[in-house]
């Protein structure tokens, strides 16, 4: 992420948060900047607590939740020092419409989820809109959200084996056999 450092520092003061000399934190979690977008790195243990604090702070809508499998990722992941990289990552996009007059704020939350125990508490009671997205994250990448009211597959058939967006899930190919026509039509 070294080459992203230049636009980061240029863009940071434009945002609503004042430029804080590093290391910048928010609710005790480290903040980084990616292409001018603010990213908060939350540990799995304080996930529910920090998200609750963020909601109280004004981030009223969870606009997106998805999971990424970093199994075969070899480049720099852009994690701040002190954040231990894990195989899975749950990425949330929160938004504060800023109708009070302080302007729109968007925040990306990246949560490291270890491979041996891919579970997180559900955000259903904080952000009911994550219900379908958490089901999708479970279905596609296999992150289990404890306390979810309806924890089953959403896109794949209910008896499907495996999680298709994991990097060790073999993507299929249908062999196409080309044949010369033997008889003239």
């Amino acid at each position: 992420m070294t080459d992203a450092a230049a636009p980061t520092e240029a863009d940071a003061p434009d945002d609503t948060t004042p430029a804080v000399p590093e290391p910048e934190t928010m609710h005790g979690c480290p903040v980084t900047w990616s292409r001018g977008q603010k990213v908060l790195h939350v540990g799995g243990a304080d996930y529910a607590k920090v998200l609750g604090a963020l909601q109280a702070e004004g981030f009223h809508t969870c606009i997106d939740l998805c999971a990424v499998d970093y199994l075969t990722y070899e480049a720099d992941r852009g994690l701040p020092p002190g954040v231990e990289p894990a195989r899975f990552e749950v990425v949330l996009h929160l938004i504060d419409h800023g109708m009070g007059g302080h302007g729109v704020r968007r925040l990306r939350v990246r949560v490291q989820v270890p491979a041996d125990d891919p579970t997180l508490p559900t955000l259903f009671s904080l952000y009911p809109g994550t219900e379908a997205m958490e089901r999708e994250a479970f279905d596609m990448v296999g992150i289990t959200f404890t306390g979810h009211p309806d924890p089953n597959r959403i896109l794949m058939p209910e008896d499907w084996a495996g999680h298709p967006l994991r990097k060790d899930y073999a993507s299929g190919r249908i062999p196409v056999q080309f044949k010369a026509t033997t008889d003239a039509r």
């Binding site: 992420m1 992203a4 998805c66 990425v91 009911p128 379908a132 896109l155 495996g162 967006l165 899930y169």
Partner: protein
């Protein structure tokens, strides 16, 4: 599905890992008798309306008179479920108690496919997600990749993108008017809506070569410049549409049967929309003026003049009226695009991103090399991640891309507005009549290609 399972053999993957908690039970709706309070909370959207303790009570009541209610299945082959949406409804007489959308019938693994396509090919994939407004998918994808690349596109490309996406918004809303009319019973409206949409698609065909799935907006600009005579074609559209919209007003907006059928049906509040992540015309129908074109301007929306249309009651009629009037606002923007369309290149002149024109290949060795590199390997995108949202006709369409520095996305996720908006269905349906269910589904305007991806 068993034949598919054979094709996607887990192969080298750890079998134990793959089977980890795979069977989580059925996707259908469970009987009210075995409902827990948690499920009641979810089904009735009660997180916003009542506490868990209160949810316990109706769950017990429902268990007591279980034979009073009936669970019926609607879809996925129902003609008014807009493709392959399946709903399970629990009815008490004619009143809908609970609704559960069951989706996935159109799932084609497009996010996985994207990981195997280069950034140049990526547009051909995403354009098939929301097939009623394909240009918005291409736009969100291209803007995200451009942000990762850190490039600025030429001004003319920006304005062409705006012109084309606003025309696409018109065609998408016309499609909504057509299907909404058909769902409610104004069958003639279906013919009119498709007819006018075809006029827009004819222009798209002239510009992009295709009526749908254009692959027109690409990373670095657009695929081709506007053809000669495009101005006259757009002006013809702008002359043709207003009197037709007046006709729709006569046929539907002011018509008592139409209003009776939609007003007060499928109500939702702004608080519910925000909690559920619902965006677009559904959120605006509650009177909440949120439009990314206005609130977080992308492209050149800060240089054009338009109004954000909002409703006041959050019912099906407001959602219909908003889309009808957004067509008028889009026409205003299109007219301004005509006036302000700048001259210049339509695609970035960076040879690492844009393939050289065919004629250059014959005379320049360097052009040949670039051409070969772009079409075999593709251009490399610096490592990192970005999320860029745009305002599609259905709400916030976002694209999240993680790049590992290669020429293919490491992970691409599309935040489809229809996917999230579908969660508002149980809220809108609760307490309404089964006969209104079709009106409510129609007013959400889900495009299943985007829901299931």
């Amino acid at each position: 599905m068993s034949s598919d399972a054979a094709i996607t053999d887990p192969g080298t993957a750890d079998a134990h890992d793959l089977e980890h908690r795979t069977d989580e039970g059925g996707q259908g709706m469970t009987s009210a008798a075995v409902l827990g309070a948690a499920e009641a909370l979810r089904e009735r959207g009660a997180v916003l309306r009542m506490s868990e303790a209160e949810a316990e009570a109706p769950a017990e009541e429902a268990a007591a008179d279980e034979d009073q209610t009936m669970i019926i299945n609607m879809g996925p082959q129902h003609p008014s479920t807009h493709g392959v949406l399946r709903l399970m409804l629990e009815l008490d007489g004619e009143t809908v108690l609970r609704t559960k959308p069951v989706i996935g019938y159109l799932h084609t693994g497009m996010e996985r496919t994207a990981e195997d396509l280069s950034y140049l090919q990526g547009c051909t994939n995403v354009t098939r997600m929301d097939y009623a407004s394909p240009l918005f998918n291409e736009l969100a994808f291209s803007l995200t990749v451009e942000q990762l690349l850190g490039i600025d596109i030429p001004e003319r490309a920006t304005w062409i993108r705006m012109l084309m996406t606003e025309l696409n918004r018109i065609s998408s809303h016309l499609l909504f008017l057509a299907t909404n009319g058909m769902d409610i019973g104004a069958v003639s409206m279906m013919i009119y809506g498709w007819r006018e949409r075809e006029e827009v698609l004819r222009f798209f065909e002239k510009v992009t070569g295709l009526r749908m799935n254009h692959n027109y907006i690409r990373v670095g600009g657009v695929a081709a410049d506007l053809p000669p005579g495009w101005r006259d074609d757009v002006l013809r559209l702008l002359d043709l549409l207003p009197p037709r919209l007046e006709e729709y007003d006569i046929l539907m907006t002011g018509q008592p049967i139409w209003r009776d059928r939609l007003q007060g049906v499928g109500m939702i509040t702004a608080e519910e929309c925000l909690a559920l992540g619902v965006t677009g015309p559904i959120l605006r129908s509650t009177g909440y003026a949120w439009d990314l074109r206005r609130n977080e301007p992308y492209l050149a929306y800060d240089q054009v003049d338009f109004d954000v249309v909002v409703g006041s009651y959050g019912d099906c009629f407001d959602r219909f009226a908003i889309r009808l009037n957004e067509i008028r606002e889009s026409m205003r923007i299109v007219r301004q695009c005509l006036e302000q369309m700048p001259k210049g290149p339509y695609r970035i002149q960076d040879k690492k991103v844009t393939p050289p024109p065919r004629a250059r290949i014959d005379e320049s060795m360097e052009a040949l090399i670039h051409h070969f590199k772009i079409f075999t390997e593709g251009f490399k995108v610096p490592e990192g991640e970005a999320y860029v949202p745009v305002e599609s006709p259905r709400g916030e369409l976002g694209c999240y891309i993680v790049s590992d520095g290669s020429s293919k996305p490491y992970r691409m996720h599309v935040r489809g507005p229809s996917f999230v908006n579908l969660q508002s269905l149980p809220h809108m349906m609760h307490g309404g009549f089964i006969a209104d269910a079709v009106a409510v589904i129609s007013s959400v305007d889900p495009i299943m290609g985007e829901v299931d991806r």
